[in-house]
């Protein structure tokens, strides 16, 4: 009883002391607000680590943005358009960086800082943080999709993706022969754009030929062999039911659960599936044997022998142009992205670093045995079209390339080109 009373007293003391401490810190110490995307608590921890490292020069507090990237962009764009000075640092999804940078919503990154934060950083992440040849955001973590496969299925098909890169055709044939489902994202969402872009880029094309042009001069590159090759793959998977009945509504999570079940075969997905599957095995919801059956390799090729251009995602840190403490925010952002912090973030939250050094961390190698494949994939990765009109392009693609079964190499590339061009000229609604 006495022990319990003492615990209670300690709790009560804490309850009184904590708010007091919070009040005390408000005096004089500049407060930086970091708008973060939801994660497993890693960014909150990084904020407190950097607050400690700053030794009283600044204090970082976090604000959580909505779950999906599109809503995060909506909220940030609305706030920045209203010149919100409370946004000091923000976690930005790379495709939306040009849109926020073009009207001057992001504070410029000084050259010395730019040089420092791009040293030993994977090329994909630098490209994703650059707009009109200037670094406009600080590379934080970088994501890429791998080809995940069930070793049993690959073996039965006579494939070894980990040693020789496989092609989409081989993967589709293997799934068809063994009556299994492919894990691809066919839902009408951003993940569909990710897939289309990776296929077009892997086939040597680009969704946008001149991404830096103004809206009415943008040219699409879909009416090309690369665009038709992408449409061929998506249409075939859709029409032949290779993605299973859930394909038209499959996002990354739905794809993962198809892959984990009996008819799982090959899947393209982000590395979070590895930690999620392991967590499910630890919880006992999935059999332990499943983990041993999972292999990983580079994203599939479209043309045999030509390196694939895997999707690139992740988060870069933007500095709010209307922040009252731009210099401190830059300093804090540099603290957040140190290789040690990135390595810790990867090992605990499963988000791969943009810093190449962070991959050598022993904790990283232990938690993610595929870390080296991820780093190689990031070096080859192709960003989605970098244009201030990304939302129009992406939604326009989703509008015309969904459902996957309706995609036809003879018509879809032309239809989507006409549609997106009309939308960009302000002649059509999305």
């Amino acid at each position: 009883m006495r022990r319990r009373a003492r615990h209670l007293a300690a709790l009560a003391a804490l309850a009184v002391a904590l708010p007091l401490a919070a009040c005390g810190a408000d005096d004089g110490t500049p407060r930086l607000t970091w708008y973060i995307n939801p994660d497993n608590g890693g960014q909150v921890e990084l904020a407190s680590r950097c607050t400690q490292a700053a030794e009283g020069r600044y204090r970082i507090t976090t604000e959580v943005l909505p779950r999906d990237a599109a809503s995060q962009r909506e909220q940030l764009a609305r706030r920045l358009a209203a010149k919100d000075s409370s946004i000091d640092i923000m976690s930005l999804d790379p495709p939306f960086i040009p849109e926020l940078s073009e009207p001057g919503f992001l504070a410029p990154i000084p050259d010395d800082v730019a040089e420092q934060v791009t040293t030993d950083v994977v090329q994909g992440a630098i490209d994703g943080a650059t707009w009109k040849d200037r670094l406009v955001a600080i590379p934080f973590w970088a994501n890429t999709q791998l080809l995940w496969y069930r070793k049993s299925v690959a073996q039965a098909a006579g494939l070894d993706p980990s040693s020789t890169p496989v092609t989409w055709q081989q993967v589709m044939d293997a799934a068809a022969d063994q009556d299994k489902f492919l894990g691809v994202q066919g839902a009408k969402a951003e993940s569909l754009t990710v897939w289309i872009n990776a296929l077009v880029e892997s086939a040597g094309g680009h969704v946008l030929e001149n991404p830096e042009a103004p809206a009415d001069e943008l040219r699409l590159g879909l009416e090309s062999d690369a665009g038709r090759a992408a449409a061929q793959i998506i249409g075939t998977i859709g029409r032949e039911g290779l993605g299973g009945p859930g394909l038209p509504t499959a996002d990354e999570n739905a794809t993962m659960s198809v892959f984990q079940r009996d008819r799982g075969s090959f899947m393209v997905n982000w590395p979070f599936v590895w930690s999620a599957t392991n967590a499910a095995v630890d919880d006992g919801t999935l059999p332990a044997s499943l983990v041993d059956d999972i292999g990983w390799a580079m994203y599939p090729q479209v043309d045999e022998g030509t390196d694939a251009r895997p999707p690139y995602g992740g988060i870069n840190l933007g500095i709010g142009a209307f922040s009252r403490h731009v210099d401190l925010a830059l300093e804090a952002a540099q603290c957040i992205v140190t290789p040690e912090n990135q390595a810790w973030y990867f090992a605990t939250n499963g988000n791969p670093p943009s810093s190449t050094k962070a991959y050598d961390d022993p904790d990283v190698q232990e938690a993610f045995p595929m870390a080296d494949v991820i780093r190689d994939s990031l070096e080859q990765a192709a960003p989605r079209p970098q244009t201030p009109y990304y939302n129009e392009v992406s939604t326009g693609l989703q509008e015309t390339w969904h459902p996957p079964a309706s995609v036809d190499p003879d018509t879809t590339p032309r239809d989507s080109t006409d549609f997106i061009t009309a939308v960009l000229r302000g002649e059509a609604l999305l």
Binding site: R78, A81, K188, G246, T249, A254, N391, E392, L429
Partner: protein, 310 residues
């Protein structure tokens, strides 16, 4: 308002004036607040709708007359969304009124001791937040986590491989079903209020005259409930026409399920095209006004009289 009787002529007009003034004092603040939160945004939206204005390119804002309206009204996307919204409104309101009337009759005739419990039970769906109910219905029908395909696989056309949210018809079915499930209680309550206003002696008189149950319903009960039915239909039609949550969560407009509210949201919030989006919002507002107008003309009811203030 009733006029006080008696008193001297001079005093009465003083009192009437005081009463009117008190009325303004009481209603004034609410009236001002209402103007601020409704009229101002409506005017602002109308103003914005005349510009080519993108939130991320504030410098390029330019007056373009009615071009936004021309673009919207000449685009099949708008008309498809309009048609889908109209279908959802008509089907859900019709089903809700019939179901709601039936539920109201059950509640009206139920044994007194059961009435309270029944009313509470019927009201439960209405108390659930729309977003929550939309998620519940979504997960129930979802192909990877849903149970509907397993429970109803004996129904022709339903099997484990049916992806409800991959086709227009099935998506709309789930959207409308969840809408009906959620708002029928509201209609039934309004209709119950109407039912209890039908004078009992009229029904008795009709019964004595030998009218059958159907005749009594058609000639006595329904005409006396006209105001209540109109209020129910009007409120629900306005709500249904502005449907957003269910569609946003279940399909986000995929497979031809885009409704007008979603289109307005996608244009002004998603694309940040404030001008074009405002034009859609203004058109949506005009549609809603149109529904009010038609409903009031159709039922020939003075709303004030429905509150017993003839």
């Amino acid at each position: 308002m009733s006029t006080p009787t008696g008193g001297r002529g001079r005093g009465r007009s003083d009192r009437a004036r005081d009463e009117a003034r008190l009325g303004w004092w009481l209603a004034g603040p609410a009236f001002v607040v209402m103007l601020a939160v409704t009229v101002y945004p409506i005017l602002q939206a109308f103003f914005d709708s005349l510009f080519s204005y993108r939130l991320t390119a504030p410098g390029d804002k330019a007056f373009n007359g009615g071009r936004n309206y021309v673009v919207v009204l000449s685009d099949p996307v708008f008309w498809r969304a309009f048609l889908v919204t109209l279908v959802i409104t008509l089907v859900t309101v019709l089903v809700e009124v019939i179901l709601g009337f039936f539920l109201a009759l059950v509640m009206h005739r139920a044994i007194r001791s059961l009435r309270g419990v029944l009313r509470t039970a019927i009201l439960v769906p209405y108390g659930i937040i729309t977003v929550v109910s939309a998620f519940a219905w979504f997960y129930a029908f979802d192909i990877s986590s849903g149970f509907v395909n397993h429970w109803f696989d004996w129904v022709p056309g339903i099997d484990a491989d049916l992806n409800w949210f991959a086709h227009q018809g099935t998506s709309l079915f789930v959207i409308m079903a969840s809408e009906i499930w959620k708002t029928t209680p509201f209609i039934s309550l309004l209709l119950l209020a109407g039912l209890s206003q039908v004078p009992g002696e009229l029904e008795e008189a009709a019964q004595v005259d030998g009218a059958t149950w159907a005749q009594r319903l058609q000639r006595v009960v329904l005409p006396n409930m006209r105001a209540a039915i109109m209020v129910a239909v009007l409120f629900r039609a306005l709500d249904a026409f502005r449907i957003f949550d269910n569609v946003f969560i279940m399909t986000n407009g995929a497979n031809g399920t885009t409704v007008l509210s979603l289109l307005a949201y996608r244009t002004s919030i998603g694309r940040l095209e404030i001008g074009l989006g405002s034009a859609i919002s203004v058109l949506l507002f005009l549609c809603v006004i149109g529904i009010c107008f038609v409903a009031i003309k159709l039922f020939k009811v003075d709303l004030a009289s429905a509150r017993g203030e003839a």
